[in-house]
Symmetry: C2
Subunit: 338 residues, 2 copies
DNA sequence: GTCTGGCACTCAGCACAGCAGAGTGCCAGC
DNA sequence: GCTGGCACTCTGCTGTGCTGAGTGCCAGAC
């Protein structure tokens, strides 16, 4: 077990290293923090912390830097979540309030988060499966070609073309549109498959094929691969990664380009509460020198999607966590209003 | 005027420099290209080319590298557009054909272009003003709250909330929807303002306020700031910029994050034909060491938007131009089919 | 007039050595 | 258990010298 003071030393090392980006030595520590002991004592504590794997030396005659394990302890036990200042809160609200549609909300959120944390921001669009259907629209483009538009309560609009096996009359179209909406409007998207299951049966034989095709297309929008969308921003902040950024930036950029990787990354995060994944805790190799702070957001109690930031493991955890949490809350509010 | 051989020397320098990323000297040139003259002669030609500002020396005892002016001459006079191989064409088609909606088309295009050119790709969404209205949908969300959805022939779906000054009945809503569509469906978006101008007059006094609000919202979607959208990808390719990439990457990433900058960049390009802007020809300072290759794309004769790539001035112009042109053509086809 | 071989010159890049400074571990003493 | 002192280590910086690629120029050949 680590003594109180040793934890204090670890906290001081993390704080200094995050600030200066340079290995911190025993002398500098005693000068910058009121530890009440001499450098020699701190050195002993450091040796113990290193023994336990919380800190490491880049080379023999250098100071110490925190390891992933050290950051983990810091985040779990030593750091709180720093609340934002009033000015910051007002800025968030002002910035998000002008959004005209969902794309705009997501876009603004990404920029806001990137600016606030000075890191790379990732925002997932509200998941279809966790949303409610607001309206389904069917338009006739050609005798045997329809357009299907689905609108959710979270503001997502999905749109698909449907090639019908047979021409489909205007009355049948109006009929299908009405019946479809009466069944699914206001219901959870994930329930739609069951709700429409027996719909083709109630149509004339000639039209059943088309109705089935329409329903199949509707259900296809729920396929995981295409249904999940996200937006990233603030990649320019990657240049503030540290002096070794040229080496690190490439795998990170590559990982960020892969939607699949990012979705998995956010998917691994807890559904409720904030998740912090530090360095090697991230499964993806390219992100081994980054930390990911993510949290779910939603209009009501349940999260409809996640957002977060990706930054160097050497980041200001309390500040970042505060910003991420605050932004998630405001986005939730905005979504609830729309 | 430059002699034939001097142009040949310039071409050789550009090609070698693009390939090796290192200043090219007279000896290496004669070895790698059949110029039929000795290094000494090439040196004289190089001196002349430098005098005219087409090439430059990083330092006294180094080879030459092309200047922006040199690349300009190369692109205008010495290089053609390299057509893609059959395999590449087939790959493009396969890759784009699976797209389910416009977002998907744009997303796939960005990835495709980035992969093909190994540079940063930028794709603009089809402009609303240059598209045709396919359908306008009005939904009632609450007694005095509507949702307006506009769908264009290029697959864009814009969606806005409308807060009505007074409650608006279902019949009036159906009426407005029908009249609105009969006026604007199939017409160019840019003509919409005139087409709906006198619409409020034909409604009952109580409803005129709401109708006007709906129309105002409809016209707002055309406001330039929000109507233009774009997607970028392949930023990981920035790491292949050259050995000085750490210095260059930051301003470029910053510029790429600014939608406004990118839109201006694409906006400056010619409406028809391919545009190549080299180095300092780009107005934005951060992009002074990049070249931008862009071209319009569209379903018919007219371009509805632009796409392009951003890369180091030291790029394979013929290959890049070939890829950009080919992708634009295929995207146009895809849009025409939908 | 144009091209060529020869020659002296320049300068970046690398390797090597020496030095200064920050930081450590350890130990004896309080 | 804490502290001051001390010897030691190792990075990073600076200065020197060398090598090699590449140049400009000139006199002579075609």
């Amino acid at each position: 077990m680590l003594s109180e003071r040793r934890l204090e030393v670890l906290r001081a090392i993390v704080q200094d290293y995050v600030g200066t980006e340079e290995p911190v030595g025993s002398k500098a520590l005693t000068e910058r923090h009121r530890l009440g002991v001499s450098p020699a004592t701190v050195r002993n504590d450091m040796a113990a912390l290193e023994e336990e794997g919380f800190i490491a030396q880049p080379h023999t005659s250098a100071g110490r830097i925190p390891t992933d394990k050290g950051y983990r302890l810091f985040v779990d036990k030593l750091a709180g979540v720093k609340p934002l200042s009033g000015a910051e809160r007002r800025a968030i609200q002002n910035f998000l309030d002008g959004a005209v549609d969902l794309d705009d909300v997501v876009g603004r959120t990404v920029r806001l988060l990137a600016q606030l944390t000075r890191q790379v921001a990732v925002v997932q669009y509200p998941s279809l499966t966790r949303s409610t259907v607001r309206h389904v629209e069917l338009l006739s483009l050609a005798p045997a070609r329809l357009m299907l538009v689905v609108i959710t309560d979270t503001g997502r609009v999905e749109q698909r073309h449907v090639d019908c096996p047979a021409p489909f009359g205007e009355t049948a179209l109006a009929d299908l549109r009405a019946r479809l909406n009466s069944r699914v409007a206001g219901r959870r998207f994930s329930d739609v498959p069951q709700l429409v299951q027996d719909l083709p049966e109630s149509f004339e034989t000639d039209d059943r094929g088309t109705v089935s095709t329409v329903l199949a297309t509707l259900l296809e929008t729920l396929v995981e691969e295409t249904e999940e969308r996200l937006m990233i921003g603030g990649t320019a902040n990657l240049t503030r990664f540290g002096h070794d950024f040229p080496l690190v930036i490439r795998p990170v950029l590559e990982a960020l380009e892969e939607q699949v990787v990012l979705l998995k990354l956010l998917g691994e995060a807890k559904d409720s509460g904030m998740t912090v994944r530090i360095g090697h805790e991230n499964a993806h190799e390219g992100l081994n020198s980054t930390s990911v702070v993510s949290v779910g957001y939603g209009s009501g109690g349940e999260a409809v999607a996640k957002l977060g930031v990706v930054g160097p493991t050497r980041m200001d955890y309390p500040g970042t966590m505060g910003a991420v949490r605050a932004v998630a809350r405001y986005v939730g509010q905005i979504l609830a209003e729309s």
